[in-house]
């Protein structure tokens, strides 16, 4: 097991996920920022993982992208899994529990 790649940080994964969703929906950064009630420069920074957005900001941008915190955190978890050298077996067990519920 290689330990050469440290775990990515929350703000990076979140930013990647937000940009991913936005582009998937074909939305511009400027329009999304306006809908979320934040500045375009700030949304740009969020997406690039340069800032630690508050929970309210996260919720506002999620709303502007017609998604939810559930989807967002799941997407972040997926990205974290993709970047992990070996997926922990426990994480998969937890995911299957989520399906059972």
């Amino acid at each position: 097991m290689a330990t050469t790649c440290p775990e990515p940080l929350w703000r990076h994964l979140l930013g990647d996920e937000l940009r991913g969703i936005r582009q998937e929906r074909g939305r511009t950064l400027t329009e999304t920022a306006r809908r979320a009630g934040v500045s375009p420069q700030y949304l740009s920074e969020m997406e690039r993982g340069l800032k630690e957005p508050s929970s309210e900001m996260i919720a506002a941008v999620a709303g502007a992208l017609d998604t939810s915190l559930v989807d967002l955190t799941l997407g972040v978890a997926e990205r974290a899994l993709e970047r992990a050298p070996a997926p922990p077996a426990q994480a998969e067990v937890r995911v299957s529990l989520t399906l059972a519920a």
Copy 2:
């Protein structure tokens, strides 16, 4: 679909998840804080959703609890699902995709 319960915020869900994991492992707040390199008062505030911890702080506490950002965000997503009035069908599809990978 009742819209009387707003979606919980990231910091609340995160805090609940951190406290849940810590108590599951039978660890004290003071010991966990020491291992994470944060003050006990700050960890207390984090767990109660009173503060917006930085990504590095989240990582440090996760490390102190012998867990990862993957597990953490999955746990948060689970809690968000539990508190959602009706689980979005899309979220479940994403989870099954995670299993397939």
